[in-house]
Each structure stands twice: as structure tokens, then as C-alpha cells.
Subunit: 130 residues, 2 copies
Amino acid sequence: MAYKKKIQPSLNCGLDVLGEVLYGKWKIRLLYFINQGHKRPGELQRQILDASRRVLNMQLNELEAHELVTKKIFPQLPPKVEYSLTTMGESLMPIINALGQWGDAHQEKLSAVIRQAAINETKVILIKTE
Amino acid sequence: MAYKKKIQPSLNCGLDVLGEVLYGKWKIRLLYFINQGHKRPGELQRQILDASRRVLNMQLNELEAHELVTKKIFPQLPPKVEYSLTTMGESLMPIINALGQWGDAHQEKLSAVIRQAAINETKVILIKTE
DNA sequence: GTCTATACGGATAAATTTGTCCCTATTGAA
DNA sequence: TTCAATAGGGACAAATTTATCCGTATAGAC
């Protein structure tokens, strides 16, 4: 279960609510891979190896609570669960796909500046400690 | 200055790098308002009242380091600074605008489910403490 | 019997992000 | 002379997010 917030979010404009439902390290990827047909939790975990199982579950729960995905539990053993996009979730996919394409298009440049930014921070730290 | 990360991010796909440069509570809004013509830090702070000045500065620094915006410092007193989108930053604007429109279009529904999700969490807590 | 796969979440720790409070500087206005 | 506006950041605290470790449960394969 997600943790309760002490500070209430403001929900004044579209970007506010967008942030609430999409702000989470793996949420965009989860929607992306669900849309690609990877519906079961285990599959999603194998697609997103850097994320822990626990956190993916929490973020899936939030996506479900925010009605971007639905969860279908099959009464079987071993257990089987499938996630699907809701209509609202599907309506977001063109934008998420565009984000992915934008990232792909700028990946080299961005990887470089991200790494450079990390180095610059290190420099500052080194100067400080001398 | 942003804090140094201990865990290195993976930058394998477009969505990875996208997350690195756009993951920050106010970054999308900053780009949005800079694109709207609110270029000076003070203006941006007045547009985004919920954010503290300190954090906006840090996220602006990151956007600059990631080359989505440029910063122009005018050698004046009192100081004057203006941010502008880079070409790469501009190329992101259609998508950010689409995100804003999506949020606007679903704002009522999403506000409702966000609030409902918060209530459900509270319920769970109440049951636990009895 | 033991191991794997499936799925879930509590308790807790670590990392990260965000916010608060304080300080620096200078110009011009009241 | 004091105050507001301008911009920035250090030190620190709080909130939030993410990760780790452990435990539940059952069917089937070996």
C-alpha cells in the first residue's frame, strides 16, 4: 500500500493532476509495457529489471487506484494476475509513445549531458573538501 | 547544487533518459511556463506558488545542465536572469502541451480518483490502529 | 522432500527529493 | 535609514520515494 501523504497536493490545473498520477519512477514504463502486451506482474518485472518487485507493485496499485489500469485476478493456483489499460489509460498512450520517441531521438545527446552533469557535481565536491 | 546520486541511473532506452531529465516535481511546469514567456526566476516562482524558491532553482540548474534550457545572466544590479528553451527543449514542448491538455481533459475525473485513493489509504490506517 | 514459479505485502532501511531558515549583495524608493 | 526587489546558495530538516529482507500460500516438476 502506498504511504499516506502529509502534504495535500494541489489539483488546480491539468499539469497538477498529471503529476499526481504519472509521477513515480516506473509508472510511465509500466503503462508503456502494459500497452505492449506485457500484462502480468512477473512479465513487467522482467521488462524493468532495475525496479524492485515491491515498488512495481506499489506503483501498479496506484495506477489502478487512479483508474489508468484495471487489474484482473484469476482464481487459480499458482496465482495469475493481468493488468490492462482503461480507456483513460489508453488515451495517454500516444503521448507516452511520443515521449519514448523523443527520448530515443535524443538519447545520445542526453546520455552525454547526464553523465557530464554527474561529473560536474563531483568536481564541486572535490573542490569543497580541499 | 543538486545532490550527488549514489546509485547510477541506467540510460538504456529513450524512456530511461527521459526519466532522468524530466523527473522532478516541477520540471514540466518550469518548461511549460518558460515556453509561455515567463523567463525570469521571479516570474516562474510566482507562477508556481507551491514550490519553494530553493527547489525551483535547483531544478532550473538541472534543466540547464541537461541542456533543455539556457540561462542568460545580465551583468546588472539588481541582478537579472533569463531562461530560454534550447532547441532540444523546444522539441519537447508539443508533448508537454499534449500532457497538459490531457490533464485538463481528465481533470475532474482524476481529481476525484486521487482524492478517493487518499481516503482509501486513510481507511486502511484506521482499521489497523483499532 | 526440495525446488521453482506464481503473487502479495509488512517492517524497516536507504536514498532521494523537497522544503525551511538563514546569509550574501546592490539599487532605488519611501 | 530602512525596506523591497533582484538572484543565489549553504546547512539542515522533513517528507517522500524507493529498496531490501522477510514471511504467506499452492501446484507441479524433479
